[in-house]
Structure formats: C-alpha cells, structure tokens
C-alpha cells in the first residue's frame, strides 16, 4: 500500500518535470524586434544608452580590426565574437532550438529557407545597405522577396597549379575542357600525377562536378529553385554530363594513385610536396600558400569545364550570410552593425585583414594575396555566378557518388543522376 503511494508520487514528480521541460522550450519570445525607425543619428542617441553586448557567431574569424573600428564609432557597444570552427550547423541548430541569447549569426545559404519559415531570422528588407553589395550576393540572402541577410566573403572555385611544372613543360593555363585534358596528358607523360584530390573529406572532391553549376545557372538563373521544386529534374538531359568530367579524368588516370583515403589537409601537404601538378579547390586555400611558402610558385585558374566555343563560367562561393536573430535583445544594434560592414571602407579593412574577397562592391583589397590581383582579373574577365547550396538531403547522397567514381568503381552515371533526383525528392515540400 505504502509502496503504491510512493510510486504514484514518483510518477507525478516525473510527469511534472516532463511538463516543465516541455514548456521551457515552447515559450514564444514576445519581445520581437521593432522594425524601421532607427536610422536617426545613432551615435548621438548612444550617449544616454546603456552598454550593449552584441554576440556574433561565425565559423571563420571575424576581422578584429573591423570590430575595433565599430566599437570606436559606437562606444556603448561591445562586440563579442564567437567562433565555432567545427560542426557549426549543428551547434547553431541546438542554440536555435533552445532559443539561446543570440544577435548576429552566420548562416549557410541552404539553412536560410528553413530558418525563415520558422521565424528565426530578422527581416531586413528595408535596410539601405542592400545597394552596396553585389546583386547576386543580396539574392542569396533573400527568401521569397524578403532580405534576411547578405553573404560577406566570396571565393572562386579554382584549380591551384604548380607554376614550376607548367613552365618546365611549356604549358599555358587552360581555358577550355579540351585544353585542360591536353595539359593533363602532357603532365602525365612527364611522369607526374596531373591532379590530386582527397576522398575522406568528401566535400573536397566535388569541384570537378559541381563546377558545372555555374554553366547551369548561366543558362537559367533559377535552375536550382526549379530543381528544388521539381520543375526540373536531375535526370533531365541538360544535367546528363554532370559527373562526366570527373569520370573522364579518373578513367584517364589523371589523379594521383591511392589518394582516396586522404583528408583535405593531407591533400594540401601532398600538393605542396610537388607530387601532383594541379589541385581543385576554393580560393580560400590561398591561406595555405603564405608569403614564406617557397617550394614552388603557386598559381590558380578558374576550372574550365566548358567545351571549346562555350563560355568559361567562374563559380563563386559565398556562403557566410550575416543574419540577425529575430529574438535578439538588441535589434537596433544588429542593424547598426549590418550597416557598418556594408561600407566599402570597412569592407576593405576586412578584406585585407582576413585575406579574402568581399561582396561589397569596391570593397575587395587588391593586395590581400600575391596572386589576388591575377585571380581577380581572371574572375572578372569571365562570366561568374554564385555557387548555390544544394538542399539538405543532397550532399549525403551526392558526395559518396564522387567517392565511387574516384575509387574507379565505374558507376553507371545515368543511375547516379537517378539517385541525385531521388535525394532531391526527399526535400520536396
């Protein structure tokens, strides 16, 4: 008897604690941001404002110089950078679920729609700074006509190459697919592996196929939205050659043997040791070749997947979208910061400090790297598009396919496209 009363009590305690825990997360935050009416003379009003701490979460470091300059201009604001270098999506997701105290957060493009649907992001459509950015960058931060943020850095997808090898063999930088094959054949004939790419970090293997995205977008700017909605299918003839280039390079034996198990860090090391002449990667890898890297002179050119007569489309990647969180306690200060980084002077400071290109028009420093100018020139002389993110189910399906090709398993490429389509359909609404 006593026993049953005890267990009833325990059960009650358990259920109460469950209800309490369930309610905790379900609470809707009511002090959502006031929009507009904030532009008037912020620094004057600042004098009588309480001190504010602005938290900025990012996966790469935020430029310290930019933060200092911002804090100088708005002395009552302290910026608290919060770099999460690993498992960024997962950490941010956890914080969003628990409605943690957040102000400004970098988002990947393919997180935008989901979080917009859930009311996580602040609508900044009315802000004046939009005009300072590349049109394609603003597009990336816009969902259904409303702007929630803007990506800040951009990188180009390129092939890094060993200039020493190219000079010794008398090779020119290829600008078409045929030229690239020709260059590769000559390098192979000289006894060196033309390409190296890892297999362990599957994302790092994608550039010889996702390099096609630029051409697809150049033909139809809405191609990825159409794929996401089912209006186009990966099995359509226009995508038939998606895996073709990678597959051809593998078939011809242009990749360094035994490199599928390598992680990207190891691949860079192998390339630096001169064991292969070319390495496809995003231009962020310029960091790997600082001024004191003297083994050989490194160069970079946009990936030429275009057949002779077709335009070379440069794929730009721009994924660090600055967004404001809708339940931020300091919506006004979030907007001040967004406005501040949109100024070309700030952008140049950022570009120089972080050694990368910036989406603010006229905001990229020409001297951030020794090959920056050459690279910027080759990007600007060609058509360029911003590389989109695929919907969430795509990468876990797509990347292992690249590994299959690299492993010389010779998968049926048409079948792979069917599987791409199947993965795409999982994300249909």
């Amino acid at each position: 008897m006593k026993h049953s009363r005890l267990s009833a009590l325990l059960l009650l305690l358990l259920s109460v604690s469950l209800i309490v825990s369930a309610c905790g997360g379900g609470n809707k935050n009511t002090d959502s941001p006031a929009t507009g009416s904030s532009d008037a003379a912020p620094s004057k009003a600042a004098a009588d404002k309480e001190t504010v701490t602005l938290k900025i979460s990012s996966w790469n470091p935020i430029s310290q110089k930019v933060i200092e300059k911002f804090e100088e201009q708005y002395p009552y604001i302290t910026v608290e950078p919060d770099q999460i270098a690993d498992q960024y999506r997962e950490v941010i997701r956890t914080r969003i679920i628990s409605k943690a105290d957040m102000d400004i957060v970098w988002m990947f493009p393919n997180q935008m729609r989901e979080y917009v649907d859930q009311g996580v992001l602040m609508d900044m459509s009315g802000e004046a700074w939009k005009g300072n950015y590349l049109e394609s960058a603003v597009q990336l931060g816009t969902v259904e006509g409303k702007t929630y943020g803007v990506p800040y850095n951009y990188y180009a997808v390129v092939i890094f190459y060993n200039r020493g090898v190219f000079n010794d063999l008398g090779l020119n930088v290829p600008t078409t697919w045929e030229e690239l094959l020709d260059v590769s054949e000559k390098i192979k004939a000289s006894g060196l592996a033309p390409f190296v790419t890892g297999g362990k970090d599957a994302w790092a293997t994608q550039f010889m196929s996702s390099g096609n995205f630029g051409a697809y977008q150049n033909k139809d700017p809405l191609v990825f939205e159409k794929l996401a909605s089912g209006e186009k299918k990966w099995t359509d003839p226009e995508f038939a050659d998606f895996f073709g280039p990678l597959s051809e390079l593998v078939d011809k034996g242009y990749f360094l043997e035994n490199s599928v198990g390598l992680g990207n860090a190891q691949v860079v090391q192998v390339f630096k040791e001169g064991k292969a002449a070319m390495y496809p990667m995003g231009s962020w890898a310029l960091d790997e070749f600082p001024a004191d890297f003297k083994e050989f002179e490194v160069g970079a050119f946009p990936i030429p997947l275009n057949k002779a007569g077709e335009p070379l489309v440069v794929n730009l990647i721009s994924d660090n979208i600055f967004t404001g969180i809708s339940w931020s306690k300091h919506p006004e200060e979030v907007k001040l910061f967004m406005d501040f980084i949109a100024q070309p002077d700030t952008a140049k400071l950022w570009s120089e400090d972080t050694k990368s290109a910036v989406t603010v028009v006229g905001g990229t420093s020409p001297t951030y790297h020794s090959i920056a100018e050459e690279l910027t020139k080759s990007i600007e002389s060609n058509v360029s598009t911003i590389f989109p993110s695929l919907t969430p189910s795509m990468e876990p399906a797509y990347f292992p396919m690249l590994q299959q090709i690299l492993l010389k398993q010779k998968p049926d490429l048409a079948k792979l496209m069917e599987e791409m389509q199947k993965a795409q359909e999982k994300d249909y609404k």
Binding site: L6, S17, I96, S259, P400
Partner: protein
C-alpha cells in the same frame, strides 16, 4: 532497509530524480515519441506518421551496410582484442621484471583521446605521409605498402577495427588481470600436485574461472562497438562511398546533417533495442558457463 520516513526519503531522492528525469528519462520518452514523427528538428510541431520511419529504415540500403559493419566490428574486435588481452593479462600477471611498467605502457592508449588517436592513425595509414607504408616498404612488402588502407571500401573497416583493438586491448587486459587476481593460488597448487601442466592449468582452471571477467569485457565491448561513432567519424566519416557507415554515423547524419531527426531517432530506437537484445543474450549464454570457485 525499511523506509521509516517517507518525507525524508523523498527529500533525499528528489534532486537526483529531478535531474535524472529532466536529462535522461524526459529525452528518452520524447525521443520515443519523435521516432514516430516527421519532426524537422527546430519547431515543436511534428506530425505523427506511425511506423513510416521504421519501414524506411528497413528499406534503406545504408541500414544493411550499418548492420554489416556493426557485425564486423563486434566480431573482429571482440575475437582479436580479447584473445590478445587474455594472453597479455596472464603474461603480465607473473612476477617479472618491469611488469608494472609494461602494464602501464599497454594500458596507455586507453586513456588517450579518441579523436587524437583517430587523427594520428589516419596519418599513419596514409600512403603518402604515413608510417605504415614506409614500414612495409622497409620490409620489402611493396604490395602492402601501396594499399590506401582507409581509402578502400574493402579494407577501411578492418583498418579502423585495428585501431580500436590497439586502443582498448590494455583496458580489457586490466579487467582480466583483476579477474586473475581473484583466482585463489590454492587451486593451482593442488593442480600442480595432481600433475597438471601449464596448458592444462590454463584451459581447465584459468579460463573457466575467468568467465565472469569475460562476460563483463564482452558486454562492454559489444556495447561499445555497436554504438561506435568516434573512430569512424574521425578516420573516414563513414566513407569511402559509405562503406564504413555504422549506426552511430548514420544517426548523426540524419539527425543533424539532413534535417531528418525523426528518422534518425527511429534508427536510434532500433539500435537501442538491438543492443539490449544482444547484451541480454550474451549475459545469458556466458552466465551458463560461469563456475563457482
């Protein structure tokens, strides 16, 4: 012990029970619920979809891969690791010079961080920068030296199990040594008087009396290997071409990477049931072999 005062009893129980229900029981129960929904992971709204997640798990080709790899890990690791660690335990249970030092050295990998071990071994295995290929090369074994151990679907899972064995052999050795020290020396003495040789003593005395330790060790490593995640994630991330996916990596992938936490949770529920079944049967089977001293 009789409970004299219910209030006092509850007062002492409450803090732990509250924390336990908040952080263990609560999530377990809500996890059970979410396994039957299409929960996307952000909002609290989720649609009840019955057994759909479970049906999809069974028709997912990756489920078969995970099952196969789990089986390989459990069998290979347990067989090899335990044979070696029993051997080492018996060897290092002798009064030899430097035996304490040797025990420490063999135990050492168990206290290292798994992620660190994973990274170190992925470099060791690498055909370009690794130690292993150089080692084989120096022995003149060029075929072995040219194998990309972690980069081939047919070798990757075995290369990973080798690392797991290397890391945990010392750990199970310690448990076996504790078991050995519990065996009374009287039994060995009387066996010697009866004329038993070393081999007979091992198989007729040591091994049967070690069964409780074997049970503990087997259950520990079966559970550990069935929910394996870290080694694989660090060394291959489930690749190449999904060949080393196990339940741990799949659940992580679905729950956090592809916004299908409902599906991932369903897989986690299945894994828990599977672990429970296997553990119970191991304890049942090995329990029957246990003998009293």
């Amino acid at each position: 012990m009789r409970i004299l005062n219910l209030k006092t009893f509850l007062l002492f129980l409450a803090p732990a029970l509250l924390l336990y229900s908040l952080f263990y029981a609560g999530p377990i129960i809500s996890g059970l619920y979410y396994g039957f929904t299409d929960w996307k992971g952000i909002s609290f709204s989720a649609n009840w979809i019955g057994l759909d997640n479970f049906k999809n798990v069974f028709s997912d080709p990756l489920f078969a891969t995970a099952l196969r790899n789990m089986f390989i890990l459990a069998v290979v690791v347990i067989a090899v690791q335990h044979a070696i660690s029993i051997f080492l335990a018996v060897l290092l249970d002798q009064k030899l010079r430097g035996v304490v030092w040797m025990r420490a050295v063999i135990f050492y990998p168990a206290i290292l961080n798994t992620v660190v071990i994973g990274y170190i071994w992925s470099y060791m295995y690498s055909p370009f920068v690794g130690f292993l290929p150089k080692f084989f090369e120096s022995l003149g074994l060029d075929t072995l030296a040219n194998i990309d151990w972690l980069g081939r679907p047919d070798t990757a899972i075995y290369a990973i199990s080798f690392v797991i064995i290397w890391q945990y052999t010392g750990y199970s050795m310690m448990i076996y040594m504790a078991g050995l020290q519990g065996i009374s020396s009287d039994i060995y003495e009387s066996a010697s008087i009866d004329g038993a040789n070393a081999r007979q003593k091992f198989f007729k005395i040591t091994l049967p009396l070690l069964v409780p330790a074997i049970t503990v060790n087997t259950v520990l490593s079966v559970i550990g290997n069935m929910k394996q995640f870290e080694h694989i994630w660090v060394m291959t991330q489930g690749g190449p071409a999904n060949s080393t996916q196990v339940f741990g990596t799949l659940i992580y992938q679905f729950a956090f990477k592809t916004s299908q936490p409902g599906y991932g949770t369903a897989m986690a529920i299945l894994l828990s049931i599977l672990i429970m079944l296997v553990t119970v049967s191991i304890i049942r089977v090995l329990g029957r072999w246990e003998v009293k001293q």
